[in-house]
Amino acid sequence: MSVVFLKCPEVVELVTEARDDELGSWMRLRYKAHLIHCRSCRRYVAQIDDVIAGAAELAIEPPASSDDCDAILAAVRRSRSVTPG
């Protein structure tokens, strides 16, 4: 690893630490400097952003179906009725 300039294979390994704000200030500066001049790494980072945004969308689901709820609640009632006390 060069003292100042990061190479592309190094930058792609820092993306998650950068997003979690876990890079030290010097490394963060080098990371940002690389992205300013490297279009391919900027594209890579944008694609990782797309993956993250897409994954978040997987949580947008309708609430549990009424059948699922019925099954769970019936099991809970059964279990309560056999639990002493």
């Binding site: 190479k7 792609v12 390994e13 391919s40 694609q47 990782i48 689901e61």
Partner: protein, 234 residues
């Protein structure tokens, strides 16, 4: 999120409701009231809790075990245990995190009966050498030979069909991730748990959960890139 430099707590009681009266706090107040009613045996409250949290529990269970049947069984077991002990829920964490905690405990118990000590061999998975991008895609000088190809599709707010397509591709790609990566990715990026929660739920250090998350995201990107139609830059 705590400000940079704040001591990082690993306790799941991080997200305590404050008294500021904002939306998140209202939500937590509502959640606590629901829990209180459900603990007292109110059927409507029990149903509302199941409706709200069942899909997330299914998604997490499916990430943690190998089949739909095993996931269903695990989720049902978790609900039974949750309703049994709901009166002891103190509201120190979000209810969903508490439910995930019960789920991982049930799973640990199950695995221990089969002689396994932990949910997954996270340390071995982390120790395995894995790069975010195939080294062959870089020149000897450390530059991309060719820029990353456009992804098969991306999140675009105005295009519902493209979003659905992206969700389908992602769900398929997530199913092929190694288990340790899959569990971390589903908790962090799908269920939006923070690093401390994931670390505590899975019993893995924050550093290791980040390594697994990093690899999982990189694999998903590669999968979406690989499926892209040829040509045409984004």
């Amino acid at each position: 999120m705590p400000p940079a430099g704040a001591p990082a707590s690993v306790h799941l009681g991080l997200e305590v409701a404050d008294e500021s009266g904002d939306g998140a706090s209202d939500e937590l107040t509502h959640e606590r009231a629901l829990v209180a009613r459900a603990s007292a045996g109110d059927d409507a409250a029990c149903r509302e809790l199941v409706e709200q949290h069942h899909p997330a529990m299914r998604r997490f269970a499916r990430a943690a075990v190998d089949s739909d049947d095993a996931a269903s069984e695990l989720v049902q077991e978790t609900w039974l245990a949750a309703f049994e002990s709901m009166a002891r829920f103190e509201g120190r964490s979000r209810l969903r995190t508490w439910l995930f905690g019960i789920l991982t405990n049930r799973l640990r118990k199950r695995l221990s009966r089969g002689g396994r000590e932990q949910l997954c061999d996270f340390a071995a998975e982390v120790a395995r050498e894995e790069r975010a991008v195939d080294p062959d895609r870089f020149t000897a000088m450390g530059m991309w030979r060719k820029p990353p190809e456009p992804l098969v599709c991306r999140v675009s707010p105005e295009d519902a069909a493209a979003r659905r397509q992206l969700r389908e591709h992602l769900a398929a790609a997530i199913a092929t991730l190694p288990q340790a990566q899959r569990m971390v990715l589903v908790l962090r990026d799908v269920e939006q748990c923070d690093a401390a929660e994931v670390s505590e739920l899975l019993g893995v250090s924050q550093g290791n959960q980040r390594v697994l998350l990093h690899r999982a995201r990189a694999r998903l990107r590669t999968a979406l890139e690989g499926q892209a139609t040829k040509g045409g830059e984004r």
